[in-house]
């Protein structure tokens, strides 16, 4: 079927990616864009650590520092961690359930472009008069007070990219509900698929409150409303609630997929079925559920009163239980197994003690009365970097190393991978462990500098040196990617040799239709079952037939771009006469292309049976 597999020129490749609706290519886009934003956010982190390395430093100004921390937090959470995880979900989840694509390929592309343009818009603030500077939480009184357009960039950029995330979440949910291969019952789904499912459900319910909050702030800042203007009857605590009703589930949106990735890695490299699979699923769902009941633990010092604080404190502690169930199940997956310490397994293994340290400080924070001391200090900074970096970032590095061969058809270098691990691992603990004490010794967070003579100097220096190690680790990873891509040694279907789930049953990279014939799933770890019975691949569940595929389309890009334009209009509303026309033009572009989409039928195309037969054993390039 050579027509689909021709080598293309550079321009054609770019066009291909701009118009693709293939979940595997969209995955690559997510990884690429998310990776880029990770570097940006990391660079911002490095600036933070340089500024704080010594007391009274003036590497950056006070105002710039606030912009940097705000953008660091926002970029890392919304534009780096979540999109990279979305990349894995796109790349792997449909394969794991034996689907040919996601439920809404067009919307999948739209989701990506919305995220991307939202992120670009947000980062353009650096060049257009200043970035947002009220923290990633953007508390209302400060955000309304903030001069310039920084906060406007935040509000508009996050609305656009949040819309993309919401669309992505719904897409994953429907894919999992409707498109599982024959025999793939819910309780046979790999854990990464399960965590994708629950995380997507959290997205579905957590992003609307954020959207509402952002809309209210947009109205206040750009259109003269009074939601947060106390003098006119407004109330800033509304923002705090709306933000955290979103914000707390958000951290589980980040960490659940990470748990999924580690679950796959633990069982693969222990050559053992996941211990307590059903309780793992149960714990995942329970974490998701409890995640919505605890947000006010970020507001213990707001003055909600002892009743509210006590309720939320206890509810928060409860989350430790399902998380503990997971930790012990992972440990007992390895127990009695045959554990091979590959580079992905390094990350997974180190994740356990690192994440626990963050988790238990979380439970300490949950003790409301004690949190009055911890809140808004470096103790909190230490807590969340322990869970986020030790959980999410570790999982991202692990996932990159683990699925790279499946996505790109070639293995990342293991030695370099382990070098990255050691540099990053050491740097990570060095940076963040000491921060617990900084917080307890009285150092608030979000301070652009500190005075000497308060006992903070040495600890901050240590912390900054740790960041240097982390940077080195990331640089080694980049080298690894380049070296690997240049060498480009092709690998087979199951390069780790221990693959258990369906994605390892098809070529690396998979053909663009994924499964020639949908596989018949006979149990948990479908591919492993077949392997253990001595079979080479999956038993097909259907005869070879025509495959229906969606058409590529440029419209997702255009729809997202329209909102990008409109956002500039909203930003300058009331300041320039061209603002309103620009809003109108942007919205016209968006709604116009939506209209085109709905009026022009798009039935996709079919790959014919004959072509598929030609294709046998050739390993098509996607």
């Amino acid at each position: 079927m050579s027509t689909y597999a021709q080598k293309k020129g550079f321009g054609a490749t770019v066009w291909d990616f701009l118009t693709t609706v293939d979940h595997k290519k969209i995955a690559i886009l997510y990884l690429l864009a998310g990776g880029l934003f990770f570097l940006v956010g990391g660079l911002e982190a490095v600036f933070i650590r340089i500024q704080l390395a010594v007391p009274n430093n003036d590497f950056v100004s006070a105002g710039a520092f606030n912009e940097i921390i705000t953008m660091h937090g926002t970029t890392m959470i919304f534009l780096a961690a979540m999109p990279i995880l979305f990349g894995f979900m796109n790349a792997v989840m449909p394969l794991q359930i034996g689907a040919r694509d996601v439920a809404f390929p067009f919307l999948n592309a739209l989701g990506f472009w919305l995220f991307f343009f939202g992120g670009v818009f947000l980062n353009l603030s650096w060049f257009m008069g200043g970035a947002p500077d009220a923290g990633w939480t953007s508390y209302a009184s400060l955000a309304i007070h903030s001069k310039g357009h920084g906060i406007d960039f935040y509000v508009l950029g996050l609305q656009i990219s949040g819309l993309g995330t919401l669309i992505g979440g719904i897409n994953f949910l429907v894919t999992i509900i409707n498109m599982r291969a024959p025999g793939m019952t819910y309780m046979r789904m790999p854990l990464f698929t399960w965590t994708t499912f629950v995380a997507s459900a959290l997205i579905l319910f957590a992003f609307p409150p954020l959207t509402v909050g952002l809309v209210l702030m947009m109205f206040d800042r750009m259109f003269g409303s009074n939601f947060f203007v106390v003098a006119n009857g407004g109330n800033t605590v509304i923002w705090e609630h709306l933000f955290w009703i979103f914000g707390h589930p958000e951290v589980y949106i980040l960490v659940l997929p990470a748990f999924g990735i580690f679950s796959e890695i633990f069982s693969t490299f222990s050559r053992k079925r996941l211990f307590g699979y059903s309780s793992m699923v149960f714990a995942t769902v329970l974490i998701g559920f409890l995640g919505f009941m605890v947000w006010a633990h970020h507001m213990f010092t707001t003055g909600l009163g002892p009743v509210a604080n006590a309720i939320f404190a206890v509810a928060t502690m409860a989350i430790g239980v399902p998380t503990g169930i997971k930790i012990f199940n992972w440990l007992f997956t390895m127990w009695g197994g045959s554990v091979k310490f590959t580079a992905p397994m390094h990350w997974a293994f180190a994740f356990i003690p690192s994440f626990i340290m963050g988790g238990v400080t979380g439970v300490m924070l949950a003790a409301a009365a004690a949190d009055y001391q911890y809140h808004d200090t470096y103790f909190v900074v230490a807590h969340f970097h322990y869970v986020i970096v030790g959980g999410v970032v570790f999982s991202i590095f692990a996932g990159v190393q683990y699925w790279w061969p499946k996505i790109f058809g070639t293995m990342l270098n293991e030695t370099l991978g382990k070098l990255t691990f050691w540099l990053f691992f050491i740097g990570f603990h060095m940076t963040f462990f000491i921060q617990h004490f900084l917080g307890l010794w009285g150092m608030p967070r979000r301070v652009f500098t500190y005075l000497p003579g308060q006992g903070f100097d040495t600890a901050n220096m240590i912390s900054s040196i740790g960041a240097l190690f982390m940077s080195l680790g990331v640089i080694v990873l980049l080298i690894n990617v380049v070296v690997t891509s240049v060498k480009n040694v092709k690998v087979g279907d199951d390069p780790w040799g221990d693959g258990r789930t369906l994605e390892w049953a098809i070529p690396s990279p998979p053909p663009f239709y994924n499964f020639k014939q949908l596989p018949l799933v006979r149990g948990l770890d479908a591919f492993w079952i077949e392997k253990m019975e001595g079979k080479k691949g999956m038993t097909p569940a259907e005869p070879l037939g025509d495959i229906h595929m969606p058409n590529a389309s440029f419209l997702p890009f255009v729809i997202a771009f329209g909102l990008f334009i409109a956002a500039f209009g909203a930003l300058y509303n009331g300041e320039h006469s061209w603002a309103i026309p620009v809003i109108v033009i942007g919205l016209l572009v968006t709604f116009g292309s939506m209209l085109v989409r709905s009026v022009k039928d798009d039935h996709g195309f079919h790959i014919h049976k004959e072509e598929l037969m030609d294709d046998n054993d050739k390993g098509v390039k996607a």
Binding site: A103, F104, L166, I170, N171, L173, V174, T175, I177, N178, M179, L204, F205, F207, P208, P209, T211, V212, G213, V215, L216, F219, D220, F223, G224, S225, N226, F227, V229, A231, N232, G233, G234, N235, I238, L242, I245, L595, S598, V599, D601, H603
Partner: protein, 208 residues
């Protein structure tokens, strides 16, 4: 079975909205979207309730000074009835009666437009009484909640018209039937939201 295949009354499936994979996905996806919308509107309701009657000076009108039963009642009847007419439309769709379906959707759209008209009239009145979007937190919250709903109605109207115009000539098939169905879900959802708006905003506002 091809989505655009010409079907007859006999071959028309019992659940045209869910008889292809695409349709099923659309159906599920839209329901999930409504789940998200529920949270969205709840957040707006919550904000409204927190800011109800919060005005900077006591000369400004409060909820009980503004709202009036008759107008709200008319608007409610319009929207409730349009919910019933869209049920009729789907009934005809399931019976493979394209013409009647179009007729009922047409009526639905008309009722929706009338509802919007009454809302615009109402808003202009309030503005004259000094209850503006920018005048108080109460005003901001009121217009945002009710306006969001109104925006949904307006969007639904556009959607309905687009569907009707686009499919006027080609009749029912398995490609467009799910679209009509999903639209009707959306329309009912708008109605659900309105039931809470008239209860929580208007009726409760008048009670005090």
């Amino acid at each position: 079975m091809h989505a655009e295949e010409k079907l007859t009354y006999e071959s028309w499936p019992a659940e045209p909205e869910r008889s292809t994979l695409e349709a099923k996905n659309k159906f599920t996806g839209f329901w999930l979207f409504l789940g998200g919308e529920t949270v969205l509107f709840s957040s707006l309701f919550a904000t409204y309730l927190a800011l109800k009657d919060k005005v900077p000076d006591s000369s400004m009108p409060l909820a009980k000074d503004l709202f009036e039963l008759p107008l709200t009642f008319v608007a409610t009847m319009l929207l409730l009835t349009s919910s019933l007419t869209s049920v009729y439309a789907i009934y005809q769709m399931k019976n493979f009666n394209f013409k009647k379906m179009m007729l009922w959707f047409g009526i639905t759209a008309l009722l929706g437009a009338a509802f919007l008209g009454s809302e615009v009239y109402e808003f202009t009145n309030y503005v004259h009484e000094g209850h503006k979007f920018t005048s108080s937190a109460f005003g901001s919250a009121f217009y945002t909640l009710v306006g969001f709903h109104g925006g949904h109605v307006a969007f639904g109207l556009m959607w309905c018209l687009t569907l009707m115009i686009r499919n006027a000539k080609r009749g029912l098939n398995l490609y467009n039937a799910p679209k009509f169905y999903v639209f009707s879900l959306y329309w009912h959802f708008i109605d659900v939201v309105w039931v809470f708006i008239f209860s929580v905003v208007y009726l409760m506002g008048m009670v005090g």
